[in-house]
Point group: C2
């Protein structure tokens, strides 16, 4: 199965992409990779690893690069020869089963929509991520900002799409799905959440178990498989988690620095802190799947290292093998989250 | 100046309220307090401290108690003789300068609105809290959920009300105000945020400095005085911060427990952890001011101890002394955040 890797446009591109691709080829025998980017540059990078193109590794020459700060729609329209646009065109033509990119998120979203298209019946795609939890193996959280100004039907569709991903890729039989809200009771929240709660309660498909609302303070308990929020709230939440974790670690560090006893304690605890960091570290969890598109697309973090790219490629491969887009399509054909309200 | 303390309806009521009131009387010479609750019960609690009623401490007999889980509007309507309703009626009649309650948040909000009323021109009141920051003395964050389904004009009013509080109570000359958003650029976010950004950019009053959008990951830097969010997003954010901090500390604790070296490190670092806890601890920062009401009302956390109540009373006193409601009224008379759009 072939995965396209957009090798440009992120903090450590193309080094991380090339090394990540080589590592992924080692770990997945059924995998072939097409690296998209300026040919000479990618060949030089491959040579550093004593590698070259061959049966399992090809190069898709793309001289242009979309930068992280470019205006997404404008970038997609004007840079037809960019590694991202060429990757998506190749994917849309069926030349690969999945694509991975660590480039401009907005451009990847817009480009995937324009070039690959939405699954029939999906009003808004969603960007999802696997978040670490205290117990269990993490949960899928969406939408991270692919759509803002959501309607209730969008949240229902996102719940269904998230549940398909959780079942097929994360191995959760009947995924437990909740809405992120300000209280557990069904009448809590704004009009969007109250309506989504009602629609999800009325669903009778056995494809997911809707367990109601979850509050932010219980998000990490690990008893949920999928948590759904509007893209605005989801994006704010993700960044607040990042900000809080960083602020807390900074506070602990500044306490340690000021005092000899604390410095000794800090030194003894270093492996413990490192292990917590690792549990919170996105690179362990691969990238963020884009759900609702006709094709399997994985967005890796802009600061991805080789390990994160390797994991993202494995995830893309698995998402395509399990036919996540096709299964989402078959679920939404049954009318889940019909947004004709 | 007289402050009414609703002594009932929270986790440690009335012990925390009575002890907090006695402590506050010690620290503020200009303060008198009226404790609202069942007379016999409050007198018995006072006796434990060798205290009784007198010139500076009175009891407002109120036999009923509103529980934390009661439906707010129903509770306010049916329990006319509750400590909360009687407190607010006394406040509304001008018998005190401010009120403090650690009871049912929704009931306090609804009761304050019905009984004390909104400031002329305010469409939605807001609940605000002082959050700890890495540098500086914290920032005011609002709305925590007093209003959901906000309009852009509400966010503008909340910015103005927050700035008044920051200037008068937190001593920030020209408060730096930001909107919580998913990106820094002005076109980021949903339609609500884009419109609020435009309205705030167009304001020409020198009463606050609008600095644009802030992302969740930069919330704790300490370079802002006021951060404004819609009540739904604000409430989710507050609980996500709490959940993240708790999850991170739990992860560190579970690492420490598993290993002797880590246990030693943890023991050495205990004072450092305690100091971080204290910095994150709401009891240090008093309660949450309700802004947009005709009277000064402070909501203390439902699990408030005596120290939190004491700080909440001091805050209520200061809010009344600095005439925060009156100043908000004079600002909004000038038409800030006119919601006639």
């Amino acid at each position: 199965m072939r995965v396209i890797v957009d090798a440009m446009g992120s903090d450590h591109a193309p080094e991380a992409q090339v090394e990540g691709a080589l590592r992924a080829l080692d770990s997945h025998q059924s995998l072939t990779i097409l690296l998209a980017g300026p040919k000479g540059c990618l060949e030089a990078e491959l040579r550093k690893h004593g590698a070259g193109t061959g049966d399992r590794l090809g190069i898709l020459d793309a001289p242009q690069v979309i930068a992280p700060e470019e205006e997404p729609v404008q970038a997609i329209r004007s840079k037809k020869e960019s590694s991202m646009v060429r990757s998506l065109r190749e994917l849309g033509r069926g030349e690969a089963a999945a694509a991975v990119s660590a480039g401009n998120t907005g451009a990847l979203l817009a480009g995937s929509l324009f070039i690959c298209g939405r699954i029939r019946g999906v009003r808004r795609p969603a960007l999802a991520t696997v978040m670490p939890t205290l117990a269990g193996d993490g949960m899928l959280f969406l939408d991270l900002g692919a759509s803002v100004d959501s309607r209730a039907g969008d949240l229902v569709q996102h719940a269904v799409m998230g549940a398909v991903y959780a079942r097929e890729v994360m191995n959760r039989q009947v995924p437990r799905v909740a809405l992120l809200n300000v209280g557990e009771e069904r009448q809590k929240g704004n009009s969007l959440l109250r309506e989504a709660h009602e629609l999800l309660s009325e669903r009778e498909d056995g494809d997911l178990e809707f367990v109601g609302n979850v509050e932010g303070r219980d998000l990490f308990q690990g008893d949920l498989d999928v948590v759904v929020a509007d893209g605005f709230v989801g994006n704010v939440t993700l960044k607040v988690i990042e900000g809080t974790a960083r602020a807390l670690m900074d506070m602990i560090r500044s306490e340690i620095d000021g005092n000899l006893r604390h410095q000794l304690g800090g030194a003894l605890l270093r492996p413990a802190f490192r292990s917590v960091y690792r549990r919170m570290d996105y690179t362990e969890y691969g990238g963020a799947p884009l759900l609702g598109l006709r094709e399997a697309v994985i967005k890796c973090h802009g600061s991805s290292n080789a390990r994160a790219v390797q994991n993202g490629i494995g995830q893309a491969l698995f998402m395509a093998q399990r036919q996540v887009p096709q299964i989402i399509g078959s679920h939404l054909d049954r009318g889940a989250g019909d947004t004709s309200e």
